[in-house]
């Protein structure tokens, strides 16, 4: 049973900036070796939120970076389900500028693939999309993929990724951008 406590304003150094970093980290779901774990029976509010341990990749695998235009990325937790059956869906939306071969190839490769994402918000707090049971997936392209109509339009790739989760969790581990051995 959780030992409840007062929830005060408690902004670390007064910081509470919106948005996410201009980089999100992704990997293939099947390349994950070890998932960070949630506390089975949390006794404090903090342990009910924080994951423990690191997301580690299989030998020869690593996580990658995806650049997004500033102020186009958003991480949201949507509550879903009926009374007594609530859970959450994470939503990550990003806009990658341009139609270069790498991002087009990325789209082609992951359009039906199971993925994992780590998102860092503007205050440095991290979230993992995907867990041992369910992956993150490409759900849609809310602002389209293309050149735009006018010369002043924004040309590039809009993507929205989602992941279903029974709880919202904060990730406190590291992100390996180099191959596991």
């Amino acid at each position: 049973m959780i030992d409840f406590s007062d929830i005060t304003k408690n902004l670390l150094n007064g910081d509470n900036m919106g948005g996410i970093m201009q980089i999100v980290y992704f990997g293939l779901y099947d390349d994950v070796d070890t998932w960070p774990t949630k506390t089975a029976a949390p006794t404090t509010l903090a342990t009910a939120a924080n994951l423990t341990g690191d997301l580690e990749m299989k030998v020869g695998k690593k996580m990658y970076q995806l650049y997004l235009t500033d102020d186009t990325g958003e991480f949201k937790c949507e509550m879903v389900g009926e009374i007594d059956g609530h859970s959450f869906v994470y939503h990550l939306s990003v806009f990658h500028p341009g139609m270069q071969d790498k991002v087009v190839g990325f789209l082609n490769a992951i359009k039906n693939e199971n993925l994992v994402f780590i998102v860092i918000d503007s205050d440095g707090q991290k979230y993992v999309m995907g867990d041992a049971l369910r992956p993150a997936i490409l759900a849609s392209s809310p602002d389209g993929i293309g050149t735009g109509k006018t010369t002043a339009a924004r040309k590039g790739v809009s993507m929205e990724f989602t992941a279903k989760t029974p709880r919202i969790h904060i990730y406190t581990g590291n992100i390996p951008l180099t191959e596991a051995i």
Binding site: D54, K62, N174, L177, T178, A180
Partner: protein, 88 residues
């Protein structure tokens, strides 16, 4: 330099976004050992300390030398026999 004191394990040398200090490129030689020590002490799972690191950062060599000297000067079997003989 830092590689004398610590070794990266489970990963090829390269970048890691660390929870404590942000992105660090472990293929670089010029990371201050103190920074790596900080990471190691925080429980960073990809670092192991070397014997040299134990000596340099935690002074284990000094302690070992001191205790060795004590043994060699005062408490060797030969010295113990000499002491017993001189007391007899």
């Amino acid at each position: 330099m830092w590689q004398e004191y610590f070794r990266l394990v489970k990963l090829k040398p390269g970048k890691v976004v660390t929870a404590l200090l942000g992105e660090i490129d472990f293929s670089s030689d010029s990371i201050p050992p103190e920074k790596i020590k900080q990471l190691y002490q925080s429980g960073f799972p990809y670092l192991e300390i070397t014997e040299e690191g134990k000596k340099y950062l935690y002074g284990i060599e000094k302690l070992a030398i001191k205790s060795e000297k004590k043994v060699s000067l005062n408490n060797t079997p030969t010295n113990r026999i000499k002491r017993i003989r001189s007391n007899a």
